[in-house]
């Protein structure tokens, strides 16, 4: 009798535990796209990132399985203080579970702390600073698309090997520029080259002539641009005006996006070599996605690697949550599970996420086509080299991230 009663109790308890647990599986997800909607980086992230997030939600098919997914977006204006205010409000009031895009390294490093403190998730696809997975790594953050170490490693090494052994840097004077200059310098020196000068310019400058004159006077073989977006396009345009390339020096775009090339036009941009991890015309998968994306974009723009990363990152996030059965609100737990599962999507191919939060996939060295080689709108790149994922990013053995067990 006693046994039967306890068995009954046990059975009920078990039923309650499992059944009740299933009932309590929370299937509400709120995605926050925190990006630059109006400033110098808004074409490479901005509205396109929000669209990519929407497409990921639609393609995940989770809505049909009873999940409720909302997306909100805000403009951080490239200011870390504004970004952290929005981030706190999003988590506390709007109950946002995951931050996407978060471009601008200064902003990303600031939001990184808030996300960790409040145990949310950040999949960073926009910022470049490799500190996000190094000294400042967090159990709540995944750095998805690219970083300064990878850019330096790929472009820097290729250029030094091709004979560009003396460098002069034009560096955007904030976290990103400093990180890119630091990482590229390390690669240049390691490969036997030398940095003979550097000039730090304020973010969002429109006139680069003074800086270009200093670079010209330095007689360095390579003028490295450790800046991005509008700063880079103006630098390139004005460099051609001052005859930098015609005078025998080579411009190195350490970070260049397809939207920058589009805005410059092939006539000015031709011959530049740089690294990206995504290009719309890489394979059938990227072409199919990009075509759908571009049809829904204003100006019919093709996706940048930042926007493609938002899609790819969310697809993996949804897969993970589906495997977990729900409950997206414990950020660190979700991220830990994301690191366990292999990544695989049409845009970045098969990959993985390392302990330090670094997403691993191949990096491609591209060269901008000559106007005569381009077969139509947005046909801009020639692939000149591929670095496998394991070699493209900072090896774990060099990592200063406390999450990495040594």
């Amino acid at each position: 009798m006693k046994h039967r009663i306890s068995a009954l109790f046990l059975g009920t308890a078990l039923a309650l535990a499992t059944g009740g647990g299933a009932m309590a599986q929370d299937k509400n997800i709120k995605i926050g796209v925190l990006t630059d909607n109006s400033g110098l980086y808004s074409d490479l992230g901005g509205a396109g990132s929000t669209l990519a997030a929407q497409m990921a939600v639609e393609d995940s098919g989770l809505a049909a399985k009873g999940w409720k997914i909302d997306i909100i977006s805000a403009d951080h204006q490239n200011k870390p203080d504004i970004a952290t205010t929005i981030a706190r409000q999003w988590i506390d009031v709007e109950k946002v579970d995951i931050f996407m895009d978060v471009l601008n390294s200064g902003v990303a490093l600031a939001v990184n702390n808030v996300v960790k403190e409040k145990n949310a998730v950040m999949i960073n696809t926009g910022a470049a600073s490799s500190d996000l997975t190094n000294a400042q790594c967090s159990p709540n953050t995944i750095h998805w698309v690219y970083d300064t170490y990878m850019l330096a490693n790929s472009t820097g090494q290729a250029l030094v090997k091709a004979g560009g052994d003396t460098w002069y840097f034009l560096t955007a004077d904030y976290a990103f520029g400093h990180a890119l200059e630091r990482d590229t310098t390390a690669v240049v020196v390691k490969s036997g080259g030398k940095v003979i000068g550097t000039v730090k310019h304020p973010l969002n400058s429109s006139d680069f002539s003074s800086f270009l004159l200093q670079a010209q006077a330095s007689k360095a073989k390579i003028v490295g641009m450790a800046n991005a977006g509008g700063d880079t396009t103006n630098t390139i345009k004005q460099a051609s005006e001052f005859g930098i390339v015609a005078g025998g020096q080579k411009l190195a775009g350490l970070l260049l996006f397809i939207t920058d090339v589009h805005s410059l036009g092939l006539k000015v941009a031709q011959g530049l070599s740089f690294t990206e991890t995504f290009y719309w015309d890489l394979n059938d998968g990227t072409r199919a996605f990009s075509k759908r994306f571009s049809e829904r974009m204003k100006n019919k723009a093709m996706p940048s690697m930042v926007q493609a990363g938002v899609y790819s990152g969310l697809i993996h996030y949804f897969k993970t949550l589906e495997a977990m059965g729900g409950n997206p609100h414990d950020g660190a737990k979700v991220v830990a599970k994301m690191k366990e599962l292999p990544t695989d999507d049409a845009l970045f191919g098969k990959g993985s996420i390392r302990a330090d939060g670094r997403k691993i996939h191949p990096a491609y060295l591209f060269e901008v086509k000559k106007p005569a080689e381009s077969r139509g709108p947005w046909d801009y790149y020639k692939l000149i080299g591929t670095t496998p994922g394991e070699q493209a990013f900072r090896p774990l053995s060099e990592s200063a991230c406390p999450l990495v067990k040594k």
Binding site: P202, T233, N234
Partner: protein, 295 residues
């Protein structure tokens, strides 16, 4: 030492943009008493106008120098007729707020349609006479490589600045204009149409901004925010030169361009702020600006 000469020259080139823009602001403030915060947006419209003329109708740079300021000037005159004229006699603050709002709307609309990274506009490669390829290419001055186009910008804007100064300070039209702002009732009694004069003046100021926009299109990307980035510096120039002083804004424009160029050489990190430091210093010592008269 060579590099220093080069920076001086580059500073002069930037100064010519400051001078053209602050000249327009000074004309508008001097005559209409309006602090025209829409100036940057109108400058941007000039650059976009040049871009559209080229891409839609095939009209090149040289004609754009004439047509774009006229088109944007007409837009400015419509603004003045429909909105700004109702602010006559009110505190400066109302004009500032209204034009600031106009600037935000105009920039927002352009950004919505054209994104932020901008559109390409090439340096004109005609007329081609012998080895001369329009304004493309450059010459080696020994101490620096000077793009022909930049040299042209300095000369052209100097001519425009001096012509505008002459028009306002030395001609009968200018005298009427200045009189009309001093005492509109009296001037009207002489049979002069004062409101029309004011509208034309605003059109002139706006046209100068658009002209600077066309000049800058081949150097900078044609971007919706190109004016917003510049306007604050230009305001500082006007304040340092003395609000409303025509000659003051021309001279300060060029001088600040040079000072900024030197800062970019000696301490580049401060190049965005040096103008404001100067503004604070000048305002502390002489609140009316360097050449301003007490109100």
């Amino acid at each position: 030492m060579q590099a220093l000469y080069a920076q001086l020259l580059v500073g002069l080139i930037n100064g010519s943009f400051y001078a053209l823009l602050s000249l327009g602001l000074a004309v508008i403030f001097g005559m209409l008493n309006i602090i025209n915060f829409a100036h940057g947006a109108l400058y941007m419209m000039g650059a976009f106008c040049a871009y559209f003329l080229l891409s839609l109708t095939g009209i090149g740079y040289w004609w754009a120098l004439l047509i774009a300021p006229i088109l944007v000037g007409i837009f400015g005159m419509i603004l003045e007729r429909t909105m700004l004229q109702w602010l006559a006699g009110l505190d400066h603050l109302y004009g500032l707020l209204l034009t600031f709002g106009i600037a935000l709307i105009v920039q927002g609309v352009f950004q919505n349609y054209f994104g932020s990274s901008g559109l390409p506009y090439a340096i004109p490669d005609y007329p081609q006479i012998g080895d001369w390829r329009g304004l493309q290419g450059g010459m080696n001055l020994g101490f620096m490589f000077l793009p022909v186009y930049r040299g042209w910008v300095v000369i052209f804007s100097l001519v425009v600045c001096i012509a505008t100064w002459y028009l306002i300070e030395k001609t009968r039209l200018g005298a009427n204009l200045r009189a009309a702002t001093e005492n509109p009732t009296l001037v009207r009694a002489f049979g002069i149409n004062v409101p029309r004069m004011i509208t034309l003046t605003y059109g002139l100021g706006v046209g100068l901004a658009a002209l600077a926009g066309v000049l800058s299109a081949p150097i900078n990307q044609v971007r919706p925010l190109m004016g917003a980035d510049l306007i604050i510096v230009v305001f500082a120039v006007v304040v340092i030169g003395g609000m409303g002083s025509i000659m003051g804004s021309i001279i300060t424009g060029f001088a600040l361009g040079v000072i900024e160029g030197l800062t970019k050489y000696f301490y580049p990190e401060a190049s965005n702020t040096v103008v404001f430091v100067l503004m604070v210093l000048v305002l502390l010592i002489k609140p009316t600006g360097l050449t301003g008269r007490a109100a």
